[in-house]
């Protein structure tokens, strides 16, 4: 059973078709990485899966229904997305920002409830941001800030969470920290996670499943050990390389030749 899948999905901006006639199945309860060269359509695919982009053709299905047939608020209770560059309002504090993740669970008149309180507290605890609660986002380091955004997405309390390049602007230490956090969330609550990322080695190390894209099509998908080979890296990134086992975890590691 795949709660989130797309059939014959075609996506694009203006005159350009970026993703053409694609079938994707997101594995439930797993951490999936979508990798590929710049402008291969991986972020576009993620945006399409999260209904931020209307399909030109085909459809995205969530729990068997097309996204177009579901109320966007109901989708938001099941499917969360952290965009590539969300905007923090000037001066906003961590508590305020994370609380805004509760949007889909609140109504026109029903505002803050105990359920909201619990979800936000859990999100703060899980991301280790509880001690930053009164701090303005602006004053935080890049790594802390990204954890706060993840906390906001967690407060939304969805079974599926998509993240668009959450590690791109972080240093290696914070990249690893964030990916460990995602792994922990997956292990503790069985959350299905899809993450678009650039670093193939980290994707192999921390993800269960890899979807490799090139020019708007899926070139290969499967567990990292099966998928990531020298031939694939050559094909997807145009890089000649060796693939050796990671000395710590044994997962594939790409070394430029």
């Amino acid at each position: 059973m795949n709660r989130l899948r797309a059939e014959a999905l075609t996506l694009g901006y203006d005159a350009n078709t970026v993703v053409d006639n694609l079938d994707v199945r997101v594995l439930d309860g797993k951490v999936t990485a979508i990798v590929g060269a710049n402008a291969c359509g991986k972020s576009t695919l993620l945006r399409g899966l999260a209904r931020l982009l209307q399909p030109r053709a085909g459809a995205v299905y969530l729990d068997g229904k097309t996204l177009a047939d579901l109320r966007t608020l109901d989708v938001a209770k099941v499917l969360g997305l952290l965009p590539q560059t969300p905007i923090a309002p000037d001066g906003i504090t961590v508590a305020d920002l994370v609380s805004r993740g509760r949007y889909p669970h609140q109504g026109w008149f029903r505002r803050w409830t105990e359920k909201d309180h619990d979800a936000v507290s859990r999100a703060l605890d899980a991301t280790g941001t509880a001690d930053l609660i009164d701090r303005p986002i602006r004053e935080l380091s890049g790594g802390q800030r990204q954890r706060v955004w993840v906390a906001m997405a967690l407060a939304q309390d969805t079974d599926l969470l998509l993240l668009d390049e959450p590690t791109t602007y972080l240093d290696i230490n914070h990249q690893v920290e964030l990916l460990r956090l995602l792994r922990k969330l997956n292990a503790e609550s069985g959350k299905t996670i899809v993450v678009v990322m650039h670093d193939l080695n980290l994707a192999c190390r921390f993800c269960d499943h890899i979807i490799a894209m090139s020019e708007g099509a899926i070139v290969a998908e499967g567990p990292p050990t099966e998928v990531v080979t020298a031939a694939l890296v050559e094909k997807v990134f145009g890089l000649t390389c060796l693939v050796i086992p990671d000395p710590v975890a044994g997962t594939p590691m790409v070394v430029p030749a």
Partner: protein, 351 residues
Amino acid sequence: MTATLERPATAATVLRRTRRRRTLRAVLVTAGLAVAVAALFVFTMMVGSFRLSATEVVTSVLHLRDDPSVDFVVRGLRLPTALSALTVGLALGASGTIFQQLLRNPLASPDFVGITSGAALSAVGGIVVLQVTGLLVSGLALGGAIVAAALMYLLAWRDGASGYRFILIGIGVSVFFDGLVGYVLTRAQLFEARQAMHWLTGSVGQASNQELWLLSGALVLMLPTAVLLQRQLRALELGDDAARALGARTELARAGLLATAVVLVAFAVSAAGPIIFVALIAGPIANRLLGPATGGIVPAALTGAALLLTADLVAVHLMPTPLPTGVVTGAVGAPYLLWLLATTNRQGAGG
């Protein structure tokens, strides 16, 4: 036992404390502003060449006691101006903060995105070319503001929003309209030109009773709408992608918020003329009082009312000769604008 006592506070307790403090602050600030506005409202009706006590003013306004001479001064002369300052201030404050939050820029006040200029061009054109007066001028101003807003929406907002682009186009549109206003004025006869210039400076004293009724009606409908839409505004502030991911219907919410803000500012301008800077500074002052990024619409509206009541007091009673309210708000607002431009540039937060 000691171990549990020394355990650091959990997220749940810290969060509860933070939210409680925040709510308390919001309640205190809003209540304080409401009291200040009420006090200023009464006070503006007490002062003048014929001094009255607060009791005399309140009893006369509420029709609790009839005293022909007091009633003539209060109900006949001072109440319309005070009501005008109150309602125009509320509308400008609410409208300004909605624009600023929607466009994510402290410079995005309706004064600067072409809406006030559209109203001015339409009203001045009416006074000079069509030689209309009274309520018709207000009607034209209202229409001009709405047309200008629609034009801005089409020019700047075809696919998604960029606050910076909206402001740049708005400044361009403003300059264009202001140029046309200047041209129209050069074609005017002396009498019409004087009338038009008076309208252009903006004064709370110039609103007629019908205009006040219309503006009050707009406030009664639009302020609660704005408060209801604040939830959407808080999502939109995070960027369109994040807002959509949270389940907000961004286009609909934005159009609704924009329409609310435009109606408020259009009625305010049509009643009192373009009183500048109140919409620009009310929201930031309210945010200072409430804490950053709180963006309360009601506190901003109350701040606008307090500012305009104060400006009117200064303009009418503290100056050697009574001035139009717009002159005073301009004198206070211009230094703030300069400061804002200097500091936003330094922080690189202008966009």
